[in-house]
Structures are given as structure tokens and as C-alpha cells.
Amino acid sequence: MTTTDTRRPSSDDPRVLLDEQIGVYEAIPPYPPRTEREAEFYTLGDGEMFINMGPQHPSTHGVLRVVLKLEGEKVVDIDPVLGYLHRGVEKLCENADYHQAICYTDPLEYISSLFCEWSPVMAFEKLLDVDVPRRAEYIRVLSGELNRIASHALFMGWFALDLGGLTPILWSFIERDEIVEMLAALTGQRMLFNYFRIGGVNGDLNHEFMSRLGSWMSRATEQIEANLTLLNENELFVRRARGLGTIDSATALRMCMTGPNLRATGLPFDVRRAHPYSVYPELDFDIPTRSEGDVLARYLLRMDEIKQSLRIIDQCLHQMPDGPVMAKLPRLLRPRPGRAYAAIEGPRGQYATYAISDGTDQPFRMRIHDPSFIHLQSVGLLMPGNLVADTMAVMASLDPIMGGVDK
């Protein structure tokens, strides 16, 4: 004979569920505070509340979770929670040989994969002391700058979408899609190209790539200008973006910012000029800077960079030498024990790899310096004091890719 204890509330009693879930709703971690900062943040003041943005919020650009402490609509404090996309790429690379490691670094910043290949490839080439053929270097610069344009075009669309504009993202996808198709013709993949190899590139320029590039180049400037008129001359957009999330150059340096986010504060630091690599010294291009350091400046600076990238592509096509695209290398690479560091200028900033070889065919240690992660640490400075609506604008203007942040 079975009896049920009716006095105990059953598990589907809404009150019981409420008690269990209230912690989740309040975004408070289920453990006691571990640091002073945590204890301070997770204590609510008068009239304040927590709101949990992410990891599935529509505009956190992946799986970032930001716990916002709000007073009405005003952000008082934030606590970013990372690690939802952690795959242990650095450790994986230590268990792969030098060719395989490039495949692991490829999807870090999946919007601009070529740059994630470029930096480790350069580091490994320094370890192996390989001379890369000049044609391969030119092809690297050409395809890299194309990828930079694709990344910045996508940034423009996302940024507008976070500010509530529906159309720019689809217009900018026209550019990005054409570039992606072009790179697919060159590399065989649309997104994770795995095109750069130690000692060169995987294949020479082919007919389809060149014809697509030619027809795109003839109308690219015009189309990009058309996209820009949709936002740059829009009073609503400019008024929202101007003066928002301002950071000065000293603070930006202290936060280790690089790339467009640093140049928007007025410092003309660009790895392509500061520590020249590849064939960039032979190319003529400007480093656009802006002095305001706000959201609008970061956006406009990226748009200026698109034009410079178009200049570089044009020069690459004219100066492209003949010759092989791959250096002669043994199949199994065993570099001498040593260390190498290679930094490149990605679309988001300085992307660097530090590799240590112990003489075997696998890297002993690989450290990847990702600009998205570095830039994300400044949201704690930029977001508080703004409104909820602006948190997404600030974050979009820093242009982080969560694949690179969580590695």
C-alpha cells in the first residue's frame, strides 16, 4: 500500500520552482563571492537591479554574457562572464604538428580567418628560418586585405543592426558575400580558409578568383560609398554614436588596445608600419586616424580603412611578381629549439603568436594574443554610466569576436 505525503509541496508547485529559480533570474552566481569585487558587484544598492544579457541575447555577438547592474535604464556597473566558447585551442596546438596547428587557429576569429593563419604561420617560419617566395607574400597581402574589407563590411552591418537599422546589414552582406565567394574560389572554403601554409600559400591565383576580383574592384568603391551614405548622413545614427563610449589615447594604451580602436583615439599605431612584415614596406598606403575616440570615430575609422585596403589590393595586383608560391620544405617539420614571436595587423588589431619549439615536430607551447579579448576588457570602463540601449552600441563598436575571446 502506497501513501503520498501531501504535506510536502510537489516539484511542480510554482512556489517551489520560484524559490529555486530566483537565483537564476537575479543572475547571481550560486556560490559565495570569491573576491572583493564579486562581493561588491553582487550586492544591490537602493533602486538597483540586475539584468542578465546573454549568452543567448540577440546582440552579444556570440556567447558573451554581461550581467548589468541597472538603476532604471542607466547602467551602474557590469560584470562580463566569459568562457562559453572555450575550446582550449592553445593546448590543442601543442598536441598537433606544425601544419595541423594552423587548422586549430583558423576558427578563432571566424570573420577574418586568414589573419588567424597568418600570424602562426609567420611565427613557425621564423622558427624554421624559411624564406617565403615573394609571389606568395603578395598573394597573402592581397587575400588578407580582401578579408579585412569583408570583416569591416560585416562590422558596419552589425553595428547598424545594434542601433536598430535593418537595411545596412543586408547591403553590406552584398560586399562580404562577393569577397567570400572570391576567397572560396581561391582557397576552396567560404569561411575557414586554411590557405596559408608554412613557406607560402596553398595554391596560386586562379582564373575565377581573378575575374571575380576584377569585376568587383571596378564597382567596389561605388557600392561601399552607397552603403555609407545610408548611415553617415543619417542624423539619428550620428547623434546616437557621437560622444558615446569615449576613450582617450592614454587610457586606450593602458588597456592595451590596438588596431582601429586605438587609432580612433589619435595614435597612428599600425603593425604594418610600426613593425613591418611581409611586403608591406613596398606598398603605399595611409594609416587613417581619428582623434575623438568615441563610437562614431571607431566606425568611421574602419570605413576609412576599407578604402586604404582597396588601394593596397590595387597595388598588389600591379606589382605581383612571377614565381613559385611555396618554398621547398620537408614534409615533417622539426625546427631547432627556440622561440619566435610574430605579430600582424588584423582587422581588429594586433594579432600575435608566440611559439616555442623543443626540437620535436610539435610546438612545445603556443600563446595566441587575440585583440578581441584585449578590447573586451575595456567594456567595464566604457559601459557604466550609459543607458541599456548603448551597451550594445559600445560593444559592437569594439568589434569583438567571441571565438577569439574564449579561444
Partner: protein
């Protein structure tokens, strides 16, 4: 019996219960009409005002979802074309049935209430929002004589009912037990309360000119030429009203209440199924009604832009007598054959039946067009309805266009704009209008 009943599925049980009830009811109805038909008719005739009102309300309630479907389809297709996409093109011709299918989908989805929500308020919020949207349509004159209730304080009623929407949105935001909903609800309250003031004040100048608050009277004042439309006498009022009405309808760039990139879906975050559908319909009905009100107040409502020359119909159908019947019987056959002939004769590969079908369809188009033209010329309310809907949908298109182009405004900019710019501007408009009226009166006397 009870075993057989137990083996029935749920729809079977429903049918077995409903069919006998319906039969009994129908029989009762027939008997009632047969016995008391004359009496019922007398009562209806005696209370024709009430009957007309009930019928009008029913018609408006029934027409609300289809008009929302049309606007939803318009929005999907127009924004798609602006985004250089194709948009809906699978369901129905050119995807026209997609929004209807969306409506059916919403009906069939699971409708759940989140834990911790205030069930009663949560359930009633969408109904309040939907009803306040539909009730606004009661006083809008669609055509001469085609108005649900010609209130002499029509515009006041409209603003009063429009204010109810805030209550519904606040209810939804508060009852959902979700902070995104709460933010959306409070944003909508702040926004709508702020924008009601310039919205109402911008019309006061027009009311001074019109001397009446009845919407049908306001429309009649704006004739017969398009220069008599109030937009030319109240340009500032028109601009303020348009901006404030955009905010009232929660459209881009003022769609802060459901800003998807900031607060997920605002007050509608926790809603699903038909309750969400009510919010969705209410939004698009609001767009229609706000456009209709702009047209009614400032652009002459159902008035044509210029007076048409009177066309006397030479043919009086009544004079034909029995001939009318013969024409009605013969015309389709002859017309179909005449229109089918070119298809059959010009291409030898066309089979006769295909030519007939083509001729039949073409005849339908021609006859429908001719009947419509006759009605447009001969019947006031048809031409009025055509002009009214044409102007209204032009404004609906404008709202959709703005959604495709503009980004969203921030909440502090939104409030600042309402209180610092729109309110003084509408007061200025009122002052200038009143002063002008006084001067004109003084000069006239």
C-alpha cells in the same frame, strides 16, 4: 454507450456534443423566426441605431486581422525589396498568403504562462491592447456614410481610447515577471505619455479652423479641391502630428518598446501563441489607424483631390426591363467567346479549351473592371473608400519605408525631442493659428 464515448478522440467528442446542440438551436431559431418574425423585425427597425452600431463593431472586429495581414505582407515584401532580398514568395501568388499562414501558426502554437507571472493580468493585457487599437477605428469615416459611430467628439474619443494602449503594455510588462518585459513596458509608458501631449496639441489648431470635433465633419470641410486640405493650412501641425503618431504606433525610429537588439522583445518577451498574436495584430492595426487618422485630419479623408465632372450614366439599367435579364444571360457567353477567339486563332497550337479558359478569365477581369468603374462613378461611398484607402496605404508605405531606412533613437533623445522640440512647436502652431483666426475675424468684420 459510455465505452463508445470513451474511445472517441477529443475532436470526435467535440463534434458529437456540438452537432446535436447546433441542430436544436437551428430548429429553435427557425421556429422563432416563423412565429415571431414580424415582431423581431419591428423591434430591430425601432432600434436601428443600436443594430447598426453592433453590426459596425462586429464588422470592424472581423476586418481588423485581415487588414493587419495586408500590412504585415506589405512590410515583409517592401522591406525585403529595400534590402535587395526576395521576401516571401512561396505561399500563395507572390507569397501573399504568408501573413495569413503566420496568423494560423500563431493560433496553433502553445500558449504558456511563465512561472511567477500574474496570470490574470498576463492574460488580459493583449486583449486590452488589441481592443484599444480596434476601438480607435470606430470613429474613422471610411467613406461618406461609412462610419461606425459619428461621434461629435470623435477626435477626443480617439485620443482617449488610444491612451488605453499604454495600460495594456504596462500590464504586459509588469505581469510577465521578466525584467526585459518590465523595461519595455515602462519605456512604452514613458514614450506614449510624452507623445500624447504634442499629438493632441498639434490637432488643436486644426480644430480651431474646423470648428468641430466630429471627424466626418472635418473631412467634409476639406473639399472639393485638394488645396482645401488642412495640411496646407497647418503644415507644422501636420509634421508634429506625423512624428508623434509614429511614436504612438511604436514604429521605427521610435520602436523602443520592442527594441530587439537591446531588450529582446520588450513587453512581448514572455508571450507566445495567440496572446503574442494579439500584440502583433494590434501593432499593425495601429499603423493602419494612425495612417487613417492622418489622412482624415490633414489630407481630406475620403475626398478626391479635385471635383470630378458629373458623369450622367446614359444607360439606365431599369429601363431595359426584361432586356436586362437577357443581357445578363448572354453577355458572359458572348464576351467569353469573343475574348477566347484571339487566343484560338492566333496560335494554332492552343487547344480550344485552353483558349476558352483564357477568354473566361479575361472576361471576368474586363467585367469586374467595368462594374468597378460603374460603381466608382455612380456610388459615392465606393469612390470615397478608394480614395481613403489609397491615401491611407500611401502612409502605411511611408511607415514601412521608415522602418527599412532609419536606425533607432535612444530613450533620452526620444524624451528630449518630445518635451524640448515637439511640445513648444505644437504650442507655437496653436498660438499662430489662433492669432491668425483673430486677425482674419477682425478684418472680416
Amino acid at each position: 454507450m459510455s465505452r463508445a464515448w470513451g474511445r472517441l478522440t477529443l475532436p470526435g467528442k467535440v463534434i458529437f456534443t456540438l452537432v446535436p446542440i447546433l441542430i436544436v438551436l437551428t430548429a429553435g431559431l427557425i421556429v422563432t423566426i416563423a412565429l415571431l418574425g414580424g415582431l423581431i423585425l419591428e423591434i430591430l427597425v425601432a432600434n436601428v441605431g443600436i443594430v447598426r452600431f453592433v453590426a459596425a463593431v462586429l464588422i470592424l472586429l472581423l476586418l481588423a486581422p485581415p487588414s493587419a495581414f495586408i500590412i504585415i505582407y506589405m512590410e515583409m515584401k517592401i522591406i525585403a525589396l529595400m534590402n535587395l532580398r526576395l521576401g516571401p514568395d512561396r505561399v500563395g501568388p507572390w507569397g501573399t498568403l504568408l501573413s495569413t499562414v503566420h496568423g494560423l501558426k500563431v493560433l496553433m502554437k502553445e500558449d504558456f504562462t511563465p512561472t511567477g507571472a500574474d496570470r490574470i493580468v498576463f492574460t488580459w493585457a493583449p486583449i486590452v491592447v488589441f481592443l484599444s487599437a480596434v476601438m480607435g477605428a470606430m470613429v474613422i469615416p471610411f467613406a461618406p456614410g461609412l462610419i461606425a459611430q459619428d461621434l461629435n467628439i470623435g477626435i477626443l474619443y480617439f485620443f482617449a481610447v488610444g491612451g488605453l494602449t499604454v495600460v495594456g503594455l504596462l500590464m504586459a510588462g509588469w505581469a510577465s515577471f521578466n525584467k526585459y518585459s518590465l523595461l519595455g513596458g515602462l519605456r512604452s509608458a514613458a514614450q506614449m505619455v510624452s507623445y500624447e501631449i504634442p499629438l493632441t496639441l498639434s490637432v488643436v489648431g486644426l480644430l480651431l479652423l474646423a470648428g468641430t470635433m466630429s471627424l466626418s465633419q472635418i473631412v467634409e470641410n476639406q473639399g472639393p479641391w485638394f488645396t482645401d486640405w488642412y495640411v496646407f493650412q497647418q503644415p507644422l501641425g501636420f509634421v508634429i502630428f506625423f512624428i508623434a503618431a509614429t511614436a504612438e504606433a511604436n514604429r521605427t525610429p521610435f520602436d523602443l518598446t520592442e527594441a530587439d537588439s537591446e531588450i529582446v522583445a520588450g513587453f512581448a518577451t514572455e508571450y507566445s501563441g495567440m496572446r503574442f498574436g494579439f500584440f502583433f495584430f494590434a501593432e499593425y492595426i495601429n499603423v493602419f489607424i494612425v495612417s487613417a487618422l492622418i489622412v482624415t485630419l490633414f489630407l481630406g479623408g475620403w475626398q478626391a483631390p479635385f471635383p470630378f465632372p458629373e458623369i450622367a450614366l446614359a444607360l439606365d439599367p431599369g429601363s431595359l426591363g426584361i432586356g436586362l435579364l437577357i443581357v445578363a444571360a448572354i453577355a458572359p457567353v458572348v464576351g467569353t467567346l469573343l475574348l477566347a477567339a484571339p487566343f484560338y486563332l492566333l496560335r494554332s497550337s492552343t487547344p480550344w479549351w485552353q483558349a476558352l479558359i483564357a477568354g473566361f478569365l479575361l472576361f471576368n477581369v474586363v467585367a469586374g473592371g467595368a462594374l468597378f468603374a460603374l460603381a466608382f462613378i455612380g456610388l459615392d461611398f465606393v469612390s470615397g473608400l478608394v480614395w481613403f484607402l489609397g491615401k491611407t496605404y500611401a502612409f502605411v508605405f511611408l511607415f514601412v519605408w521608415m522602418r527599412g531606412t532609419l536606425p533607432r533613437i535612444r530613450i533620452d533623445q526620444l524624451m528630449g525631442f518630445a518635451w524640448k522640440w515637439l511640445l513648444p512647436a505644437s504650442l507655437l502652431n496653436l498660438f499662430v493659428t489662433a492669432a491668425a483666426l483673430v486677425v482674419v475675424d477682425a478684418l472680416g468684420s
